[in-house]
Symmetry: C2
Subunit: 551 residues, 2 copies
């Protein structure tokens, strides 16, 4: 044991942080720690009770620091000197304003009642007007980069979020010394070094390799006050992923129980870090990172504009390739909403009686249904449509209900809808010239065997599953091993790390031809609804949102 | 007390029978009794466990007999000789096959495992193919009566239900001596007289005053085996409502605790009997009978074909007028479905803790919302669309859901959808030449003050409410008083009975101009969805139903 080398990966998710200690040579996972964020997602009010508007989603940065405090990983008898590197991954764009001393503005008692002082979580959707304006200005100016972000900059991303702060709380905008991705901020806390990740910047901040951020002229056209945004408030070097950001500071080393100077990797987006952890090492293989939301990752030799995807970034997923990202803004989140809001007591009682998780009970009941048997069809837009419409003013739809419709039928229809949403995205890639031949999945939802079978049936392809239950943290640990480098017992590239550290489950999910036939028919209906409500023929979802905002 | 006269009304509903003893002179309600049917609605299986297909809805006739047994009304010190008449009302078309001794075929142990031997409840919707065929044949033959039933004979009605028996169990069809409305069958049990009600026959069996049932040729065109249906299996005189069917038999008199020979009125449909009970006595006044489903009743001097209504029948609602009926196949049923299937434990716990009914808790929470605030919109077709589309292959729709959508928001959206459905019906009457100037409501849903305010806001008119909580049973008792006649202390016509026996609540619901404006916008969106999914542009609901049937 004492001659083994380990890497620590910390995966900062939406509801919790998960730490994992991994054997660098074999990928064996020797210790894990999950820390549920005490403040979770703040979408109704601030800690002091200040109410939030609909579509807001904030976080508390103290939860990130406390995650680090809770990852003292001495389980399994691993000694601090055996840990050769640390990697972190983070949701994105999850951003915050900080002061000149790198402190979050929300830590200032004077500012803590102001919503814009807090961390805006990736799924904060209140910057839709700003995203629309950004798109208009970029189109009017013929900005070249627009086509590599699916033709629209999402309201989830950095610039619309900054624009919202400027629009709604200009004084706080002024007070902010910098705006920073939470992942980069945590690396800054760990190392004292401000290294902005090319992955975060490339996918979420319109930063392109060899080009940088959009021009001063573009930002000035958005708003004269934004002209010097990059120099003033986005200061800090953009560094490629796979690099070392710095070494652990003595204070942080003591807090996490490791040695000062332990190499820390540049932050990677939580979805992107899962790609090497599923073993995806080149073109044609799509990684599905399936959790509260789902990300669809694939690399190609070519840089192609694909309509409605989130972005194409050189070296953004695997070095040497153009990395493509698409996604669904809510997947597990929809099922969690359903379980929290729409399941009657009899089901809770049965689950408790049988010692089952409620999801497991619903999975068991829904698995007894055949495709089509529920009589239901849904559009999976509970959190808007990220790909391929990039429109967060869209909302959910469920149809086909009768007086005999059961909760498990609705649960299954919601799962099917998310599978159809993935199929729309896959079709967009294939039609745009990026072939998708194999599927590799990881993330919490891969534990739901019925769900995985439905995805295989809907996509008509086998899906292989990462062995690790914590693929995000494993991917982060892989980057930690790369930050350490070969000389320290790690690896010199992520490609070298993959065959040693990433493994698949023995079981995969293969499509059932009969189910596929029925799902083809349901998918055709899904696409009709998708186009009708998503492409302007009926804008009822936007009308409802306007009326809600007025109420 | 001893010189007062009383009438007994028995209202046979979907889930229970309700008996009411009413002072004939004042309308005072002196005693009530509710009997929940032990077998309720059988929509999953027969009592012996035989599974039923989707869309089936059966009942057990023993529940009707037991309702009579449980109406021994000696509360309040009323003596049998003070009860001058009995009236009953019944859901419709609720029909059963009986043998030559008037016994339901399902009482025969040899037949009780056959679904078609049982009572088909009004909301049995499995005869949709037969209803479609009937429509085609009637259109091809240019049958004159078709236009008075909104252009389509509902699958809920007598002939499609009989056709389904013939199609699926021809041997049982042969065994049936007659098919009869359950309301007429109960009157037959009480009196030994087979008097078929003109109200049931007119609205549900294509019987027209002065014309009778459709012709032999028509029935032969439907199916040669049906040629003699009327003479063979619908035998029995059709008698106008407001008449006496006969007197209580000695056995029945003993069972219900009244005198032999007590006059029993001809059966009336449960919705139609509510019209005089709300005080509606002439044209321009719409009665809304609001319960598990809602019926919309209005009378006119003219016989006009109104698209998509259930029927126009001379003397069918009030003597001397043409009675128009339209309806929504599920209203309270949708809310009941929601409460049973989609409300989480925290709400049940809060209701229990505060000693509230769950509907009352949801009403309280939903009442705190403004129109438009839920961000939701629904189509109220959980049980198909009776008026104006007469299409039971349609199903429910809910849209606008986000990750912060709450149960009370959905509850309110469902209520709003049923109000929009009523507005579509009102518009159809007005556009067809039947003016609707005032609204009078009765039924269980009128207790929900938020619901009534939403209806007033959506319709843009004041709604007055019947004082009685049991308007159905009250209306039945009014017909009982008419069966007794003036000479026995009752009345010679229903019009004479109204001012004495029917009363309104002091409180009415008046529209709020601000809410009305928002609901006008939501209604415009409702109509777009209604037309898109209901009139053929997108037939996804039918596709889903087909796939469900195939699964």
């Amino acid at each position: 044991m004492t001659d083994r080398k380990f890497s620590l990966g910390i995966d900062f998710g939406t509801e919790s942080g998960r730490a994992l200690l991994v054997d660098v040579a074999t990928g064996e996972e020797v210790a894990t720690e999950v820390y549920e964020y005490p403040h979770g997602v703040m979408d109704r009010e601030l800690p002091d009770g200040t109410k939030l508007d609909p579509d807001w989603a904030l976080q508390h940065p103290q939860d990130y620091l406390d995650t680090l405090r809770h990852t003292v990983l001495q389980k399994g008898g691993v000694k601090p000197e055996q840990v050769i590197g640390i990697g972190i991954d983070f949701t994105s764009c999850t951003m915050l304003p900080i002061d000149a001393q790198d402190r979050p503005l929300c830590f200032d008692p004077e500012l803590q009642h102001r919503p814009h002082a807090w961390v805006k979580l990736w799924k904060h959707h209140a910057a839709e007007p700003e995203a629309n304006k950004l798109k208009e200005v970029a189109e009017a100016r013929g900005e070249d980069w627009l086509k590599y972000y699916g033709g629209k900059i999402s309201s989830e991303w950095l610039v619309p979020k900054i624009m919202q702060i400027l629009d709604e709380d200009p004084e706080l905008y002024e007070r902010a010394d910098r705006f920073i991705e939470a992942g980069d901020w945590v690396v800054l806390q760990l190392t004292g070094q401000e290294k902005r990740s090319s992955c975060h910047a490339g996918y979420k901040a319109i930063w392109q390799k060899g080009v940088g951020y959009p021009s001063k002229e573009f930002f000035k056209a958005l708003d004269p006050r934004l002209e010097n945004l990059v120099e003033e408030k986005l200061r800090g070097e953009v560094v490629p992923i796979g690099q070392k950001a710095g070494g652990l500071t003595p204070e942080m080393a003591e807090m996490v129980g490791l040695l000062p100077g332990t190499p820390v990797a540049v932050s990677v987006i939580d979805a992107h870090v899962g790609v090497p952890a599923t073993g995806v090492d080149g073109p044609g293989k799509m990684a599905l990172i399936m959790g509260t939301s789902t990300c669809h990752m694939i690399v190609s030799d070519k840089k192609l504009p694909i309509e409605g995807i989130s972005g194409v970034v050189e070296d953004g997923i695997l070095p040497g390739f153009f990395g493509y990202e698409a996604g669904q803004a809510a997947v597990g989140d929809i099922f969690a909403w359903f379980v929290r809001n729409a399941v009657p007591p009899a089901y809770h009682d049965e689950a408790k009686r049988r010692g089952l998780d409620l999801h497991a009970l619903l999975e068991e009941k829904a698995a007894a249904l055949k495709p089509g048997q529920s009589g239901l069809l849904a559009l999976d837009w509970w959190n808007g449509c990220r790909s391929t419409l990039i429109d967060y003013d869209l909302s959910g739809l469920l149809l086909g209900m009768t007086l005999t419709t059961t909760p498990e039928e609705i649960y299954r229809a919601l799962i099917e809808a998310t599978a159809f949403g993935t199929r729309v995205i896959v079709d967009a890639f294939v039609n745009g010239g990026v072939p998708v031949e194999e599927f590799y999945a990881c993330g919490g939802l891969t534990k739901n065997r019925m769900l995985m079978q439905i995805y295989a049936d809907v996509l008509g392809k086998e899906i292989k599953i990462a062995r690790s239950d914590l693929a995000g943290a494993l991917g982060a640990a892989m980057y930690g091993a790369v930050a350490a480098g070969k000389s320290a017992g790690g690896y010199d590239s992520i490609k070298e790390a993959i065959p040693h550290m990433a493994h698949l489950r023995d079981e995969s999910f293969k499509p059932n031809a009969e189910n596929q036939k029925i799902y083809d028919q349901l998918f055709a209906e899904y696409v009709k609804l998708y186009d009708h409500f998503g492409r302007g023929a009926n804008d009822v979802m936007k009308v409802l949102r306007r009326l809600r905002a007025g109420a």
